[in-house]
């Protein structure tokens, strides 16, 4: 299975959605900040790890 880097970056969107839901339910800005940043960090990590792996279409 070929894993496209841009699709891997979508992994972080889960936490961004979670941040929105958490913010609506709790009104805790600090928690929303942490969850939002976690989403960005996971997107970055997933993007670079997927892009950094050998290209699947050459195997």
């Amino acid at each position: 299975m070929i894993l496209k880097a841009r699709y891997a970056a979508l992994a972080g969107v889960v936490f961004l959605v979670l941040a929105v839901v958490y913010g609506l339910l709790s009104h805790d800005v600090g928690g929303v900040t942490m969850l939002g940043a976690l989403g960005i960090a996971i997107s970055l990590a997933a993007l670079v790890l997927a892009a950094g792996s050998p290209r699947g279409d050459e195997q």
Partner: protein, 209 residues
């Protein structure tokens, strides 16, 4: 000589094949993962600031049950706005340096890297000047603590960035970068853009929000 050339040929072909399969260089991969961890580091600081700010009865906090004039930093944001412009401009020159080395223009690369370094040092100088004239310290309520913690850690990152830029400039002057080999320049530019983005969020949170 001919023997050694033919002996090297298979290795060269293998290296070229390995290079073609490589998705991203190790320095850039490492830098982006480092930036991902830095996102969480600053998120912790911002979360603490927002938590203190939005749970406080008064913001900035009262001192002796009265507003404390030095805390009204919004009224004196000219210097901070200038520093923001300096840092944004430095990101532009950094990117111009990257574009220059990508097309092999070493003169433009060195010039833009030098300007970026000077702008970074100007930012740090301005921040030190700001600290000397603020009128409150890190122990003056939660406002002072969060303000100095956020801006101080950011300033430390700018200092780290200027050190990286100095190394890049030194290596550039020594002729170590070319259109094909400049991963350190790309990695440094990513870090510098990240530091710039953090400052924009920081400036917006502290002075505008």
């Amino acid at each position: 000589m001919a023997l050694s050339t033919s002996a090297l040929a298979p290795h060269a072909a293998t290296d070229a094949h390995a290079h073609a399969r490589r998705g991203i260089s190790n320095p850039i991969l490492g830098m982006i993962l480092f930036i991902a961890s830095e996102v969480m580091f600053f998120a912790g600081l911002f979360a603490a600031y927002f938590n203190v700010r939005f749970t406080a009865a008064h913001w900035p906090p009262l001192v002796n049950e009265a507003p404390f004039e030095p805390f009204q930093i919004r009224n004196e944001m000219v210097l901070a706005a200038i520093l923001t412009a300096v840092l944004v401009l430095s990101s532009v020159t950094m990117q111009m340096a990257v574009w220059a080395i990508r097309r092999g223009d070493r003169t433009a690369f060195l010039r833009n890297t030098g300007v970026t370094l000077v702008l970074g040092l100007a930012f740090l100088t301005g921040q030190v000047y700001d600290y000397l004239h603020l009128g409150f310290g890190i122990t003056d309520t939660a406002f002072g603590s969060t303000f100095y913690t956020l801006t101080g850690f950011h300033g430390a990152h700018v200092l780290g960035g200027t050190i990286m830029l100095s190394v890049v400039l030194y290596r550039g002057l020594a002729g170590q970068f070319s259109a094909r080999h400049h991963d350190a320049v790309e990695a440094t530019s990513l870090y510098w853009h990240f530091v710039d983005v953090v400052w924009i969020v920081l400036f917006s949170s502290l002075y505008l929000l």
